[in-house]
């Protein structure tokens, strides 16, 4: 236990800001998960692996001399098709089954992705340098890497675009209709199969954006996906499925919680603290989710 974070107020400010910026990025991944969970009733264990795959896209652009920030445009496009392909191959076979089957299937996909990425890209830890520099606040007592600020900004931008798209576009409305009642939507002429594929594609695209951002701010490695899955899972169960501001808030909350856990308990318990929180929340909510299906509004 280390309470240094409370002795120096500036460290608390640093922790909060770091946490919020990180949390916004988590929220983006979680939003993708909430979307396809709400529409298809599938918990995607491979979420984190899709993120890492997106990261590798940005990394390879960086290797070939393109600025990795362009990855936030290229990665989602490629990942959209990866997502649709994945849907056509596997997910469409489990979409109407119970949750357990979908968890098993996506768990399998997760392992497959890890091994394939390891095979294709190697087991080295890699990163892409943005060269964005640093912002100093409060007489340089608080330092924020611009890459983190950039990540948060891009995440917000994508989230806003998506919300507008869901409200205004034809496909967006079809997705929402399917989420509310797939059978009714089908009767009314919505091609739910197409909607499912698009939803999974959009989710993968969001993961792609997040991955590109992670390769700029942190590091990527084929086996680093699971913590991202766990975080987004947690954010979604705290916020509920149809609640975008809730997802954003609980994402930031989780970010700040992680930072403080890091300072107080030590970095080694950072992920552990997230897992503990997950258990506590699950117990607290008494598995409400399994009883009551929520809708994406």
């Amino acid at each position: 236990m280390d309470f240094m974070v409370f002795q120096y107020p500036m460290i608390s400010v640093q922790a909060c800001l770091d946490g919020v910026l990180l949390g916004i990025l988590f929220a983006l991944i979680a939003y993708g998960m909430a979307l396809q969970w709400g529409v298809m009733n599938i918990i995607n264990i491979a979420q984190g692996d899709l993120v890492i795959l997106g990261g590798y896209i940005a990394y390879f652009m960086y290797l070939y001399g393109i600025h990795p920030a362009w990855g936030v445009i290229v990665a989602p496009i490629i990942m959209y098709f990866v997502g649709v392909g994945l849907y056509k191959l596997v997910i469409n076979k489990v979409v109407d089954r119970d949750l357990f089957i979908s968890i098993l299937a996506t768990f399998g996909i997760s392992i497959l992705f890890m091994q394939l990425m390891n095979f294709a890209f190697g087991a080295d830890v890699v990163l892409a340098n943005s060269g964005y520099g640093t912002t100093f606040l409060f007489d340089s007592a608080v330092v924020l890497p611009n890459s983190k600020i950039f990540s948060a900004f891009i995440s917000i931008l994508f989230a806003i675009c998506l919300v507008i798209y869901m409200k205004k576009s034809k496909l967006g409305r079809a997705i929402r209709a399917t989420a509310q009642n797939a059978r009714a939507a089908k009767i009314l002429g919505v091609d739910t199969e197409k909607v499912y594929a698009a939803t999974f594609g959009i989710n993968a695209a969001l993961c792609g954006v997040a991955g590109a951002l992670i390769s700029i701010t942190f590091t990527i490695h084929p086996y680093m996906g699971l913590p991202y899955t766990i975080r987004s899972f947690m954010i979604v169960i705290v916020a509920g499925l149809g609640n975008l501001p809730g997802v954003a808030l609980s994402g930031m909350g989780l970010g700040v919680f992680e930072e403080f856990a890091d300072y107080i308990l030590g970095t080694e318990f950072r992920i552990g603290a997230v897992f503990l929180l997950l258990v506590l929340i699950l117990v607290y909510r008494r598995f409400k989710l399994s009883r009551k299906r929520e809708y994406l509004k």
Binding site: N118, A123, F218, H221
Partner: protein
Amino acid sequence: MKINKIILSFISALAILLSTSVTSFAKVVGDKIILGSAISLTGKYSSNGVHTQNGYNMAVDRINSMGGVKVGGKTYKFEIIYYDDESNPKRAAQLAERLISQDGVEFMLGPYSSGLTKAIAPVTEKYGVPMVEANGASRSLFTKGYKYLFAVLAPANLYLDVAIRTAVELNGGKGVRIAQAFEQDAFSQDVRLGILDAAKETGSEIIIDDKLPKELNDMAATLVKVKQMKPDVLVVSGHTKGALTAVRQIAEMKVDVPMLAMTHCDAAKLSKQHGKNSQYSLCASQWHKTLTYKDDFFKDGMTYAADFTKEFGYDPPYQAAESSAALLVFKDAFERANSFDQKKVRDALAATNMQTFYGNIKFAPGGQNVDKPMVLFQVMCDDAGKCENKVVAPLKWASAELIHPIPKWSKR
């Protein structure tokens, strides 16, 4: 009926295959000495596993082409059976069993990493199979009283010991204030123990002692503390991800610290991935190509590096060099034992006292190599941003002078 026939022929083909493979794999067949190794070709250690395998293969080719191993007036050639351990300790132990009891291997080469070596050592020990390993540095490997385990590398607790001693020396012999962050795995924790010992002996104080998780990709919290407490030395060990994360975040957060010492910089391709941001980092290394050790097979470090690059297309990391050295040790031991009796070879290995391009090799009773110090290199960049690793300590091997303290970020 037809299907039955197919199945029958399939099974008999399999049986024939198995029976031939069992008989053909024995310790010494014809003029071949067969060594076995479980190695990480897939999974999280696969890049270093491949470096290890390349190192082994290069030495096998070299020794075979330069006359092989002479035992009892006859010339033998090395051959290695590899199995992929998937970076998984349990699998590695199973494969060691299989190599020994099914394939009849009587001499083993080590896997990659301390963890996997730890899994295999009890098996080789049980069967009395001599194992020369080149990639397991954890101290606990050498305190268990293993009789058949020999490591050509220096143990993990010595990795960054020299960094602390150098810092104390530069501080006029007075103790320094140390901040340290170590991953929670066997290897990094051994490095940590080494630092604790060095701190105690030099009267240094440890002011930050953080542990890092396996999924490490953010150590901002540790660095904020470092900013606040201003230690004299920051020590980080968390394999490649630790080195990469530390350098990235130190540069982004503009953390000023007079000395930064790490492990796994060359495996992380630190200077390539981070360029000038990695400048002035000190890195512990088992080997560096500029060291002037010599042998008859690879001549010296520079020649080894050139030959390796020609064959595999990249600069050899120390993991490859030490793996090559393991074969030289085996050859030497076979020739001195003049026999393939496992006990005699084991005794010959224990009496090893030789120089290779990789360094001097002499084993302590625990099996670790006590005749080869660790070296520290510093990443140095020119104005064009081209970075090179230059040995700065110990002074005997230094090819450049240590730059200390690290210039502040505001002045870079």
